[in-house]
């Protein structure tokens, strides 16, 4: 083996070691994110008034992601962001989704990319090593909100995830008797869709995922239509919050929602177990809570 090949071999071996280290760290990050998305799944069976309590169990885990961000920024050699980003991009999209979903549930607004970077402890100086790309942002917000950043691509992706998730939430909120949630979700997702229409998308993954938005909007519109048709919606006071802790939706008490009331009662019972403290226990606790919750939402 000549010197040329030997040098290349040595270099590739060093790179392989870097890859292993990054992979290990990304795995830890993924564990945290999965525990959060698992817990956040419960929003579909949680009354709006109980959502803040649910969110408070997720928030500490989200902040714990900061240490992983810092370690990844250390591990990635300077100017090699694009060399390694595939290793974490999917998980970072989920993290963006989680952060934007929490933001929407709390305030009904879209979390901007700089804000997400702050939440995840990603510093501006890491732009050559570890950051959220605009595409990732847009993919994640498919579920709920939008993050603004100089890196448009990541952002877009996260936002699409947010919209997908919200269409599901609109249906489930009606099942739980929260009849005005779909209206707020509808207004918010329409704004997001209007934002997406400003982008000139190529025929790539982002375009294909963008195409899915219209089905989500349609689903939400149908929910809004059904609720309106049956006059179930109270006049909308503030379109900002989907889940304001101080203003529990008033529709639960109406006579037309007897089923929803009983559903709500069982759900509350299921949710009355003590709040989870240790984030590490979230995954296990969630599993034990699942059967109880499955019954009312079924």
């Amino acid at each position: 083996m000549d010197l040329n090949i030997a040098e290349i071999h040595a270099h590739l071996e060093r790179e392989a070691q870097v890859r292993e280290k990054i992979k290990d760290e990304v795995l830890e990050l993924e564990k945290k994110i999965r525990s959060m998305t698992g817990t956040l799944n419960k929003i579909h069976s949680t009354l709006p008034k109980d959502v803040p309590a649910l969110l408070s169990t997720v928030r500490p885990t989200l902040l714990m992601c900061r240490s992983h961000s810092a370690r990844l920024a250390e591990l990635v050699p300077p100017n090699q962001f694009w060399r390694w980003k595939e290793l974490w991009s999917k998980h970072l999209q989920s993290a963006v989704f989680v952060a934007t979903l929490i933001q929407f549930l709390e305030s009904g607004t879209l979390l901007s990319l700089p804000d997400i970077n702050q939440t995840l402890g990603i510093q501006a100086g890491w732009a050559d090593r570890f950051y959220i790309q605009i595409e990732d942002y847009l993919h994640g917000c498919r579920y709920f909100t939008l993050i603004s950043s100089p890196y448009t691509d990541y952002t877009c992706v996260a936002v699409i995830s947010l919209i997908n998730e919200l269409s599901r939430l609109a249906v489930n909120m009606v099942t739980l008797g929260s009849y005005d949630a779909p209206f707020r979700i509808s207004a918010f997702t329409k704004d997001l869709a209007a934002g997406f229409s400003l982008l000139n998308l190529k025929n790539d993954l982002l375009r294909r995922r963008f195409d899915s938005i219209k089905y989500d909007l349609k689903k939400i519109e149908e929910v809004v239509y059904d609720v309106s048709l049956r006059n179930l919606n109270a006049p909308i006071q503030a379109p900002a919050l989907a889940t304001s802790p101080t203003q529990p939706p008033t529709c639960y008490g109406t006579s037309s929602s007897r089923t929803a009331q009983s559903l709500a009662a069982t759900t509350e019972a299921a949710d009355s177990r003590p709040p989870l403290e240790a984030p590490e226990l979230l995954g296990a606790a969630e599993q034990s809570g699942e059967p109880q919750q499955a019954a009312p939402s079924a």
């Binding site: 083996m1 694009w82 448009t152 997001l192 400003l198 982008l199 379109p239 900002a240």
Partner: protein, 233 residues
């Protein structure tokens, strides 16, 4: 409140729009340049295949039937390879100030084809494998040469050498000896690259093709030897 949130969202997206457009345009331009590089590289490879193999019947002026001089063949290829520096320069201008790795998917195919042509010309002239640093000296400094592209490009060389060796086998005399040389060279290349396959995606598939080519060259040379011995007896 609603309007404010809508404006907030639209502002964010307008910002994204500019960034995404710039990225997509740059991608498009790089794909075009890389495609041009691929086409020209393929032409150089064909040109190298047209160089008459010693022992062929040449025309009156030492010019082969396809109009290329035996001696000047690789020279012409080198001139063309130098001529492609303009395209490589254009590529590096697009990459200026960018995160180059981001566009590697666009430039890699062109880069690999160029390396294939370069290594083929290099082999025909020097009878050795072009080194990583030698390839690098042909590229503008802005264009990074990933080890993977070097290895994948050089891996393609074996396919060209198969074609070259098979034509050489058809000619009696010293060129048949050359086919045997090629056989040894390809065998060494394949052995050297084998250890690197786990590190580079796509290399193991190319190694498989190299092994197939090697088998064909070996078969060709053995048949030739067998045929020669049977004619002579």
């Amino acid at each position: 409140m609603v309007a404010a949130s809508r404006d907030h969202i639209l502002t964010i997206f307008k910002d994204f729009s500019t960034t995404l457009d710039d990225h997509n345009d740059r991608k498009e331009r790089l794909v075009k340049i890389a495609r041009d590089i691929t086409v020209l590289s393929k032409r150089i490879i064909f040109l190298l295949h047209r160089i008459p193999i010693p022992g062929h019947n040449h025309g009156p002026n030492g010019v082969g039937e396809r109009g290329i001089s035996n001696i000047g063949g690789t020279d012409e290829a080198y001139v063309k390879l130098e001529g492609m520096k303009k395209l490589l320069q254009a590529m590096s201008e697009q990459l200026q100030g960018q995160e180059v790795e981001r566009y590697s998917a666009m430039i890699s195919p062109g880069l690999q084809e160029y390396i294939e042509a370069l290594s083929f010309a290099h082999y025909l002239r020097h009878k050795v494998l072009i080194s990583y640093n030698e390839v690098k000296s042909y590229l503008p400094p802005i264009i990074p040469l990933p080890y993977s592209d070097y290895l994948l490009g050089v891996s393609d060389l074996t396919g060209e050498l198969l074609r070259w060796a098979i034509s050489a086998i058809g000619v009696d005399g010293p060129s048949r000896q050359k086919a045997t040389e090629v056989c040894t060279f390809v065998r060494t290349c394949s052995a050297d690259i084998e250890a690197l396959t786990p590190y580079v995606r796509g290399l193991s598939r190319k190694q498989g093709i190299t092994t197939e080519s090697l088998k064909k060259i070996e078969f060709g040379t053995s048949i030739a030897r067998f045929a020669v011995s049977s004619w002579r007896s």
